[in-house]
């Protein structure tokens, strides 16, 4: 099946009114989670994941994609209006967006942000459509050794790029791997860390763990902030930007989108790094370099086209390798697993309709948020003022009921609270929840392939270095983990000379 056939295989799924409704509902929820500072796309997806139980796999994915894409876009609204990015990926948007708002151009800034987000998002999907099948067909050659290398690579890149200290990121990843090892051993069936409990013997469910680390932990972090500032929201007037100016900006938008897609495809890099990198590169090479940071539309466009293109990029490793690129795609993998589907290269052969629906769902989501953004930005702006004493208890209740809903057991609520508390305490010593969750998702992949590789090779550890792809993965791992230290060491030696 070529890329075009694969693209249209999901058309019957996406054109149904119920599918459009779910994307719309997901988008609205995503925009709410994106606009309100402190709420994130990850939290929104984790909280609403249990709602997908009542849906088919296709509809569940569309709903979650709607939330993901909507939240990624909407983070820019609060960045522009009150200089508080709704999501980390909107940090760079605020550099110029907020200053535009201060000059009375809040509407225009939102308009540029919306259209740049839309074009960036579409660009990301376009790359996804062509890159994912190629990578997936390559991945069909992978054996247990290669998957072990990929899983390790996922954890080490996540630890390195996005969450402060690399070592603490790795510790978080290992905590996630240990949590995933609770329950019956994948090979012998022996109950591990069960302590006589039938619930623990069955292993930890993904949703209470995810919702606990992303939802409850965030609630606890937010609740300890003793002051609640009232934001002064800039007034929104004319939203639609000038078409001719937008056309003039199109080459720069294409470059930013390319940067965003590429960075998005790197596990854990995500929209925040993508938008900062694109903003930095545009500022460096633009003719108006000195004006960046003074409130120009180019700054908004550079950041927004990149962070939305990163969404499409993040789907590439998720769909083609079954490896989550970031916490949001980890949740999407969780949703697929709940439906008995294993993301990875085989999904292209067994469920082309689902792959296509994911592509098209992204496209429709982009169109929907553009319309919502242009028409309703001024209304969503009011959400910035929602007081946290109403917001946080509501999130807590949704977390509890969402965790209960998976197996109708109170045990999962205890798991939720325990994970929330552990996440909160670990965050205090700089161990963030995201590597823990990625470790938890990658745990079964890593253990299964690691042990299978050793069984196949009759316990010979050299099996990981005698296969070229596996060796390459391990070398990249080594470089990711030691490269920054070696470079710092080299720099220090040069300085000393």
């Amino acid at each position: 099946m070529d890329a075009f056939d694969l693209l249209i295989a999901g058309l019957p799924n996406i054109t149904k009114p119920y599918s459009i409704f779910l994307i719309l509902a997901g988008n609205v929820l995503g925009i709410i989670f994106g606009v309100v500072p402190g709420l994130t796309a990850t939290m929104g997806m984790a909280i609403f994941l249990p709602m997908t139980f009542a849906m088919s796999d296709v509809h569940g994915m569309l709903f979650l994609i709607g939330i993901f894409v909507g939240a990624c876009y909407a983070g820019s609204i609060s960045a522009i209006l009150v200089n508080i990015p709704g999501t980390p990926s909107a940090i760079a948007t605020g550099f110029d967006g907020y200053l535009m708002a201060q000059k009375g151009e809040a509407g225009r800034a939102i308009g540029y942000s919306t259209l740049a987000s839309a074009l960036g998002g579409l660009f990301g999907v376009l790359v996804l459509v062509f890159a994912a099948p190629i990578l997936a067909s390559f991945a069909l050659e992978f054996g247990a050794q290669e998957y072990t290398g990929i899983a390790l690579l996922g954890i080490s890149i996540v630890s390195y790029i996005s969450f402060g200290s690399t070592v603490k990121g790795l510790i978080g990843g290992i905590i996630g791997l240990l949590l995933a090892s609770i329950g019956q051993d994948v090979i012998t069936g022996y109950p591990r860390f069960a302590f006589g409990s039938k619930d623990l013997e069955a292993g930890l469910e993904m949703i209470p763990v995810m919702v606990g680390f992303f939802g409850v932990t965030e609630v606890l972090i937010k609740i300890e902030q003793t002051t609640e500032g009232r934001s002064v929201v800039a007034k929104i007037s004319k939203v639609l930007p000038s078409l001719s100016r937008l056309v003039r900006m199109s080459p720069m938008m294409a470059v930013s989108s390319l940067i965003g897609t590429f960075i998005g495809a790197v596990p854990a890099a995500g929209g925040a790094i993508a938008s900062m990198a694109a903003y930095g590169i545009q500022k460096r090479f633009s003719k108006r370099s000195r004006e960046y940071g003074t409130g120009i539309a180019e700054g908004v466009v550079a950041a927004e086209s990149a962070n939305n293109a990163a969404v499409g990029g993040a789907f590439v490793p998720m769909l083609s390798l079954g490896i989550p690129g970031d916490p949001q795609t980890a949740i999407l993998i969780g949703a697929l697993m709940l439906n008995g589907l294993a993301p990875g290269p085989m999904l292209f052969a067994t469920r082309p309709d689902l792959i296509s629906t994911i592509y098209l769902g992204n496209v429709v989501s982009v169109v929907v948020f553009s319309l919502i953004g242009l028409a309703g930005a001024r209304y969503f702006a009011h959400l910035i003022r929602v007081p946290r004493h109403y917001l946080l208890p509501a999130i807590m209740i949704f977390c509890i009921i969402g965790s209960f809903a998976i197996r109708n057991t109170v045990f999962d609520i205890w798991v939720l609270l325990a994970c929330g508390l552990i996440g909160y305490l670990l965050q205090k010593i700089g161990i963030m929840p995201a590597p823990i969750i990625l470790g938890f998702v990658l745990g079964p992949i890593l253990e299964d392939n690691f042990r299978r590789a050793l069984i196949i090779s009759d316990g010979d550890w050299t099996t990981f270095v005698t296969r070229p792809i596996s060796l390459a993965m391990l070398l990249i791992n080594l470089f990711v983990l030691t490269g920054p230290y070696l470079m710092a060491l080299a720099r220090r030696k040069i300085t000393n000379r």
């Binding site: 709602m51 090979i187 606890l220 609740i223 209960f404």
Partner: protein, 165 residues
């Protein structure tokens, strides 16, 4: 966040304790022979536990190396610990635990209402009449919404009451 040095010590202790507990627990797991790689179900967690202990140690070493005295001969003072309101955090966790324990007796809707209502008051840190009324109305509305979304729309059977069947 804690100060840098305390942070590193705590990380080291957390890693060592988790690693040690995993090693102690898995020491009793069977070692299976004749599987090609016959180390049994405890092998993989043991690898992770040793990695954990090693990384904890690395954090500590990094921190100690960073604490070199400056030009004046004085070591950096640890950063002051920012004051954090732990009381609301503890309060919310206690409320959540109490509501889960009570859930079996009074059902989700009632225990959820109490949790929401008391959480609103706890976070707002106010018992003024209109705040209490607003919190009450909000909590009722929230639970009605949860009931409609999860029980009616999604079809989740919310935990019922064992006392008032």
């Amino acid at each position: 966040m804690f100060s840098v040095k305390r942070d590193s010590w705590l990380t080291f202790i957390v890693c060592s304790v988790i690693g040690a507990l995993v090693l102690i627990e898995t020491a009793g797991y069977p070692v299976l022979k004749g599987q090609g790689f016959g180390r049994g179900p405890g092998f993989y967690p043991q690898v992770l536990a040793w990695a954990m202990i090693g990384l904890g140690l690395l954090i500590l070493i990094q921190s100690l190396r960073r604490k070199k005295p400056d030009a004046t001969g004085h070591a950096d003072r640890p950063e002051p610990i920012p004051s954090v309101a732990y009381l609301p955090v503890a309060g919310l966790m206690l409320l959540a635990v109490a509501s889960i324990v009570a859930m079996d007796y009074v059902g989700f809707l009632f225990s959820g209402f109490i949790l929401t209502f008391l959480s609103v008051l706890l976070i707002r840190a106010s018992l003024r009449g209109r705040h209490v009324v607003a919190g009450f109305i909000y909590s009722v509305g929230m639970l009605v919404l949860v009931y409609l979304v999860f029980d009616v729309f999604v079809g989740v059977q919310l935990p019922g009451s064992s006392l008032f069947k």
